[in-house]
Symmetry: C3
Subunit: 270 residues, 3 copies
């Protein structure tokens, strides 16, 4: 099956199966993540207490771990839920928000990667470079690095960790260590709304809940968000801005069809 | 007074008194709960630290407890605030989100019900059946059970617990153990937005802040949300979806009038 | 430079420098605060674990502390981050949400003010009066006090604490202990949306990230929100309410220009 057919099939499966996606995530964008999973057709559940995460992940089709506002309590829950997920064959998707900015984030991401070997890791260029052990200028959770060497970094790290690595930016890069896809959907206004990165990871997680082909799941999640961003931006009128854009982003994901995704996705193999 | 007159009177009282509604709730939909209380005319306050919840509930006209993202810290706050509420005669409204999915949720809901005897409990069919001790298929926090036996379950549990039991779904059911109301407002798109259940509970809580007739408060809260959902859905245009729907849901609650509520409420006694 | 020129210059600087604004804030309005900082042109980061806040504030241009849902864990983080900020010369902006409602809030605000001597404190009249040691009727986190004596209270407290004091209400008051500005932008519908106070504080914080003239930063932040509220309200059509208003509030901040701010700001010196 070609990648476009796979994307189309993945979205059909999400709408058919409505996979339950367990999130342990930050309190900044958690509502957006829940709504974007619902918009695409999945079923979100957020639960982070150590006493219940193992049970909850047992119902889930994927586990999304996002360290955006990590703390000592939730880090243990992430590890516990993640280990249970691995035991059950539930894919783990990691969003290493702000890794490199503080030792706590860097050490936690390292612990999670070592213990859980996530099926997919999605970050911006700064974050992925930190994971790859490269020196980068960090400015909070924003990406400053240029994206030219994205495919080399993604491919190398994917091979090293045996994970799918997804770097989102102007051109997104997804690699499994062998193949590299370059994705050109999206609009820069996406960077002006909080949580678009987190939501992208949640979409990737939702797709991972319906296919074992995590490479195509990552491509599908990123392309869905990029395409929705384009559609939402194109509809903006005079006087509108990120408030209306954000509303329409959910509308656009909600109305995304397998046909539209396959047809409008800008996907190149390197 | 007939139920429609009561609904109308309840909404007038909310707008006149702007009751303070203390929430101890989850971090996924807490912003939505605050805004929906403001939209209907109430005044929300969210506070969950053990050191302050007893004092805060002393200012409140109702206490809404929602276990959506419970943890060991907040469970103690829920109990402490709840006991103080009972002492003061402040009504307690419980939303047992996801009860049955994990032991923590089931045990916590049981503790809260036993200790606090909530004036109103609102959940979906799966959740209420778990409280009633019935076996149900649980899938995270979503309802899977069919709704045919709703009135029996609601009436029996209400009688057993001496609480108002509200089951929301395609047809909503409210019972105080003697009378049963069936409510037919609403639209299925409400299930595609996170927090519509939580917000319904917050609306019920807001109405409980202005009347001792908690049965009519529950009917008013559920009917308000259902009616707002219908209005918001009817206004959707091509290309719009849950983003715009959600925005208009707040608009519709904000513009709801006592007359509209009494006239358009679809309320049947069993 | 006149105040209008300063406001214009401040907004230009925000758009040019995109200052990183570290928040330790509540989980009710945190998403709104992040989006409003992005809308005006800044870069938000939310991090509250004791293990990382000192490092994170080292990257920041300002630290916003908001006690809306404080707890024992985050109070320590606020103090630790604040002390580091002072050491580094990073301005601290305090939003004492609900101070006076509970001992925990009152004591925490007192500890933070004593330890950190915030550059700016923004609250409503009830909150600022509590800080000034005056008796007020408290009703949760809402303001009940009248605003007539605002300028006396603001000036006295500013002088006593050597902080900028900003009281928001129908007419906003900003004082540094010597000069007093009265601000008349805004619309009462702003009080019907949760988080508009928190967002105003975040905007003040964003401006404090680009100028040492914290008085003009406070005036700029409050005037920006007031003006955006006017624009958003003026665009409301029949059937719209706080849902649409809130969306357009972000749009209006996003589209705010230095020229518009300088021209439409309603600023009087007392």
């Amino acid at each position: 099956m070609q990648i476009r057919e796979k994307l189309s099939a993945n979205l059909s499966l999400v709408k058919e199966k409505s996979p339950l996606i367990h999130h342990i995530t930050n309190y900044v964008t958690v509502n957006d993540c829940a709504n974007i999973v619902l918009a695409i057709g999945g079923s979100p559940v957020m639960a982070d207490d150590l006493e219940e995460v193992e049970e909850m992940v047992g119902f889930a089709s994927a586990l999304v771990i996002n360290i955006g506002t990590l703390n000592s309590r939730t880090i243990e829950s992430m590890l516990s839920a993640g280990l249970k997920a691995k035991e059950l064959g539930v894919p783990v998707i990691l969003d290493p928000v702000g890794v490199g900015a503080t030792k706590l984030r860097t050490n936690t991401a390292a612990r999670l990667i070592q213990a859980l070997k996530p099926e997919v890791i999605r970050g911006n260029m700064s974050e992925i470079k930190v994971l790859a052990g490269l020196e980068v200028a960090i400015k909070g959770v924003d990406s400053l690095a240029d994206e030219q060497d994205g495919s080399v970094v993604a491919k190398t790290l994917a091979s090293e960790l045996d994970s799918i690595i997804a770097i989102t930016g102007k051109t997104d890069v997804v690699s499994d260590g062998k193949q590299v896809c370059l994705l050109d959907n999206g609009h820069q206004i996406l960077a002006d709304v909080t949580g678009t990165g987190c939501m992208t990871t949640s979409l990737v997680g939702t797709y991972c809940g319906v296919t074992k082909d995590y490479f195509s799941a990552a491509v599908a999640g990123i392309t869905s968000m990029g395409l929705a961003g384009e559609i939402a931006h194109a509809a903006l009128r005079h006087g509108e801005g990120i408030g209306t854009f954000r509303t329409r982003l959910f509308d656009s994901i909600y109305n995304l069809t397998p046909e539209l995704l396959a047809r409008e996705g800008k996907i190149r193999y390197e």
